[in-house]
Amino acid sequence: MLRLLFILLLASVVQVSAEEFSFDEAEIEKKIWHLGGYAEARPGLNLLDQSAAQSRLRYYGRHVDDTLPDFNGKLLLEGSLEKDWAKLFVQPSLDYTNTRLTHDLKLSWYEAWLQAKPNEHVKFLVGKKSLRWGKGYAWNPVAFFDRPKNPDEPELNLEGYWLATADLIRSFDGPLQTVAFTPILLPQDHDLNHEFGSSDHINWGGKLYFLLYDTDIDLIMMGRGSRNASYGFDFSRNLTTNFELHGELAWVLNSSRPVISATGQQETVSGDAVSWLLGARYLTEQDTTWILEYYRNGNGYTRSEMATYYQKVDQAWTAWQQSGASSQLQRLGQNQSYSRPAAMQDYLYLRISQKEPWDILYVTPALTSIANLRDGSFSISPELVYTGITNLELRLKGTALVGSRRSEYGEKPNDARVELRVRYSF
């Protein structure tokens, strides 16, 4: 009897262990449609620097405390329908922003396209799409047909442009393993892609990709249209199992930027601009990933141009305080070029992330810093990401901006920011 009980017990244990790892084929059944996405909440707290130039331009005439909480929410949906060689894909994003000063709800179509892939050598796509060209992690000077990405959040989705494109792909044996050609047509007028540049142009360009001697190489060009003609080159290569090197070079013909002159007037400075980037990714034996990038912005402001701008903001602020005249502050505030990310010329990006330290699975602490090498100012952002719960990602991130007066990061509106991001994927 005891033996029978033992056998039954053993059988039940075997049953449990056999069921312990099951792989139901229903899990892998393919449907012709897919619906997914994520919902995200991002409460944050900003510590304002009320005497900074960007803070004065943004908040003048309004009472703000030194601490400004905000709440950002996002619902990003993805839907696709796929049958044989055709695929329809849409990605709408609903974004909500709420601070003490403003609140906003905005619906954007990040992507919406139809793709035809008659065979493995060729595919065609028409619709709204973000191309994300370039090999850089924080910056992509060769991404001529994309919106600029934020180096503080380089992995976020970007809204695309309406365009038509194709991929023509050939593989070979030997040192040249792949060649791919990607032509682009991007129409632009006051209704379509109006943020792309000056209106009423059919913009064109393309990318030629090679995988040559184990190195990714792209040759990129954009013809003159809504924007100036541009030529680009990028590469990426794994030098060892744990070391990757990448770079980009962009040459923009007759590039221009608005400059505030010593008289306070806005002038346009034009000339060919060469921007480039060199970066590396290194993984240590302890699973620490280092990403280091140097970025030279050929169309960035010089230190003296930036100093003149800050001086003019100071003068406009004094004038407003003394006489109540806000026209100068208004005019300077409308010039977004000085407040854009990487507005000056020389930058260094460093990100160090440690995967699962002390064997704590699914926890990744990271430290990111972006330094302006011209004026010595920088941002530093420690963060902690936890992904231990299926489909849930928690990220706590703090950012401190460090710099003297009249330096780029010293004149940003915030001294510091702390943010919790809760993202649930479905």
Partner: protein, 241 residues
């Protein structure tokens, strides 16, 4: 003296033949595990010491000795991630990021004990030379040495069943002989024309208490164009299913 010369001459002739046998055996083990070109589904399960699990489901396609691509089907947070291996090159496409970035074989896109080299494992014969073949009763023991420096594990000890010539256990070691992880092959099943282990478990002295499991399903021989295994092809792998 003449006998000694003959003995050593025969030994010199026999040694390369024995080495060749080892490599042939490794080739046979590779072919017994998978057809040269195939598609398959895999489930990866990471188990923490407290029993908590995290599961990933992948669709994998392989061609020849140096081309492989894997698409994450689940969980939702990872769906659409695609890893491509072309010889010594590896890339990861994250749908949010939108472009393939180069990754290294020692990284892990899933966490746990499996790294990218385990997920995108090519034929052992393509990456390793058999240095020594030992007879261990019911098993062969093959001592493998990496052909190049880009391979994730410098040395491998592979125990293969003499009867079905399938691996039973693999130890992955550093060049200095330090054990990185051990893979255990279990649950031999018929996949329509050939039989192979349907379960691979792994543990590591570097991740004490943690375990990772890989389950295989629907391994089918299938041929693919080379263009499937390109950066431009990564975003459309799901269309092959």
């Amino acid at each position: 003296m003449r006998r000694i010369v003959i003995f050593f001459s025969m030994l010199l002739i026999a040694l390369p033949a024995f080495a060749l046998d080892g490599q042939q055996l490794l080739k046979q083990i590779d072919r017994n595990m998978n057809p040269e070109s195939y598609e398959s589904y895999r489930k990866l399960i990471n188990i923490e010491p407290n029993g908590t699990r995290k599961e990933f489901t992948l669709y994998t396609v392989k061609k020849g000795t140096d081309k492989m691509v894997s698409l994450f089907l689940a969980p939702a947070s990872d769906k659409g991630r695609t890893t491509l291996r072309l010889g010594e090159n590896m890339w990861l496409l994250i749908p949010n990021v939108g472009k393939p970035v180069r990754i290294t074989s020692l990284q892990s896109v899933v966490g746990g004990v499996f790294n990218n080299a385990d997920i995108l494992q090519l034929d052992y014969d393509a990456e390793y030379t058999v240095e020594k073949l030992e007879d261990k009763g019911a098993d062969y023991l093959l001592h493998l040495k990496a052909k190049g420096r880009s391979v994730a594990y410098d040395r491998i000890r592979l125990w293969a069943d003499k009867g079905n010539k399938l691996p039973r256990k693999i130890e992955c070691l550093t060049e200095a002989g330090m054990l990185i992880k051990t893979l255990y092959f279990k649950d031999v099943k018929n996949f329509g024309g050939f039989s192979r282990p349907a379960t691979m478990e792994t543990d590591s002295p570097l991740h004490k208490g943690y375990k990772s499991v890989m389950l295989f399903a629907k391994i089918k021989k299938r041929s693919f164009k080379d263009e499937v295994f390109t950066l431009n092809g990564m975003a459309t792998i799901d269309s092959l299913r």
